[in-house]
């Protein structure tokens, strides 16, 4: 909305609360105009990171730059940041228009200019005509959109979203998510979303940082993280996964032959540092495991027995006991190729789908 969008650069950020270190040396660079998500389980420090960027908390170390300005020590009100809270934090004693106009009033925008800007912001979030209502008269989703309008009307350099969808019910969350995706293209504001929800993170973000225990584990585009997780934590956090540990055999041209007890030997891109005889871990997503009837087992398939079935509507999750392991497989729910508990099945996969992970 404003001028050229600004980027964010957080360097070696540290924040301690007493004996615990909530943020333990974070380096995050968000590109101008990017939609960036900080993803992690609760207690990983992602909200602390957001509050450090907003200026609600003061860091114990490191620096924060937005655009060209070093804002590490700048007070909150001087940062020009739009922040949308998980509980919306709308001012209950003000109308919707007064809520949205609050930031304009604080910025001494002339009264005559405020009206049109408030109207435009409310239009952006599809709430035109709601200016006279009180927050208490709105639904959760509408309150959410007022909070968004209030944050974007000031044309912030940076928009921060703190678990903005987690208070909404499942259907509304889906609607809001697609609306946020639309808004992101229309506004072009550099945005940082903090969430524990993988779907939210993946469907909205240009890039995602996965956090654990105050540290960034991996930063990358959603597909990158999903296909090539840096370690077992990232792999497991991004969804159910088959994790196999085996022994490295010969390594040639960056490809290792890894022997998995009970399964078969597979060809996997070697991680730096792998040597013959080492333990190696690879992951395979359940949807990349193919199931066929045991009688139709092809070459390299492993035969096992289905010992758990879970129907998810559009998908079916199977657990297959094979080679002394529990293999997770996911298949579309079709009329053909359905299996029942106890069926003998052949499990097949393409070695190209195996991703090596650091422990």
């Amino acid at each position: 909305m404003g001028g050229a969008p600004a980027g964010l650069e957080a360097r070696s950020l540290v924040k301690r609360f007493g004996a615990t270190t909530a943020v333990d040396g974070i380096d995050i660079a968000v590109r101008p105009g990017e939609f960036f998500t900080v993803l992690g389980p609760s207690g990983c420090g992602k909200t602390t990171f957001l509050r450090l960027v907003a200026g609600i908390l003061a860091p114990d170390g490191g620096s924060i730059r937005i655009g060209a300005a070093d804002l590490t020590q700048a007070p909150i009100w001087a940062r020009n940041i739009g922040l949308v809270f998980q509980n919306y934090a709308l001012f209950p004693h003000m109308t919707v228009a007064q809520n949205v106009g609050f930031g304009l009033a604080m910025r001494r925008v002339p009264r005559a200019d405020r009206g049109p800007r408030i109207a435009r912001a409310l239009e952006t979030v599809r709430l035109d005509g709601y200016g006279g209502r009180r927050p208490s008269e709105l639904s959760g989703g509408q309150q959410q959109r007022v909070a968004l309008a209030r944050a974007i009307v000031i044309e912030p350099d940076l928009l921060l979203l703190d678990e903005p969808l987690s208070n909404l019910d499942a259907r509304l969350r889906e609607d809001m998510r697609s609306e946020l995706a639309d808004l992101k293209h229309r506004l072009g504001i550099t945005t940082i979303l903090v969430t524990h929800d993988i779907h939210e993170a993946f469907s909205l973000s240009d890039r995602v940082a996965v956090m654990r225990a105050g540290r960034v584990e991996q930063v990358g585009a959603p597909t990158e993280l999903y296909e090539l997780p840096a370690n077992r934590f990232v792999a497991g956090f991004l969804g159910p996964v088959n994790e196999w540990t085996g022994r490295v055999g010969a390594i040639a041209d960056g490809t290792a032959e890894v022997e998995f007890a009970g399964l078969r030997s597979c060809r996997v891109p070697a991680l730096a540092g792998w040597r013959g005889g080492d333990e190696a871990t690879v992951i395979l997503r359940p949807e990349r495991l193919g199931l066929t009837a045991a009688s139709a087992a092809g070459e390299g398939a492993v035969v096992g027995r289905i010992d758990q079935v879970a129907h998810l509507g559009n998908l079916v999750n199977y657990r297959v006991a094979a080679g002394g392991r529990a293999l997770l497989a996911q298949a579309p729910a079709g009329r053909t190729g359905r299996f029942a508990l106890g069926d003998r099945v052949a499990v097949a996969w393409d070695d190209a789908d195996l991703a090596p992970v650091a422990p």
């Binding site: 009100w77 739009g82 604080m106 009180r134 208490s136």
Partner: protein, 295 residues
Amino acid sequence: MISGAAGRSALGIRLGGSVWLFLGPALLLMLAAYLAPLFDTTIVSLHPNRPTGIDRDSWTIANYLRLLDTYYGEVLLRTLRVSLLITLFSVLLAYPVGVWLAGLGPRGQAWAILVYMSPWFVNAVVKSFGWTLILGNRGLVNRGLQSLGLIDSPLRLMLNETGIVIGLLPGHFLFVLLPLWAALKGLDGNLRWAAMTLGARPWQVFLRVTVPLTLPALLAGAIINFTMNMAAFAAPALLGGTRTRVLSFIAYQVNLEELNWPFGGALAVAMLVVTLGFVMVAQGLTRGGLGGGRR
């Protein structure tokens, strides 16, 4: 069945006729011990007082006309002035103390509240005598100031309206502080951060967010404070002295020393009407502009 209904009502679900079972005892007590005597007092105030006692056969408004005497007018004005002054001081102190209090840790808050409650741990008469040791001409304050050479002759800190204000303020302040403290603690902490990210400085957050959202609680406390100031008896009697009488003391004198119940009744009704009038004005303020039309 009854306990079941009560349990549901606690969860905010409407209950039927059984509500009277729970309200009944308290309502009966109010009716018998408060409303009935008050009604009788009003009736008595409309009868003349004779040397033989209350003449219940004839009716008069003479008792009320006597209130128009300048002496009683002065007493009424003084009572109002002192009461409003105490309320004003309490309200001025409430935000600084309340904001400080709400920011303390849980233990700190518990101790601080105990300190603000402490005036109520001592009997009002004993407390007032205690004040005379501090405020008298040869009391702690005057001797201290004199020994420091700050004053030549003692300040008159009691046996006047100053004494009444000093005597009542510490105890009655609690009733302004408690509701405000509760309201401040109940504020969503994110409102403050939301306002600040939108560009508000701390004082702007206070004026535009904190005050509008907690003002109704402050006014509620101020109303309680005011009615208690109007009705206070021991401290005004002991710290006000013979030349600085307030309505409650005059009513006591007329009723129990002169045994003139009809005129005493008129005084009581006048006090009630004036107090109620102020309360209604204050409540009008809360509902109207000051509360920001909060729903």
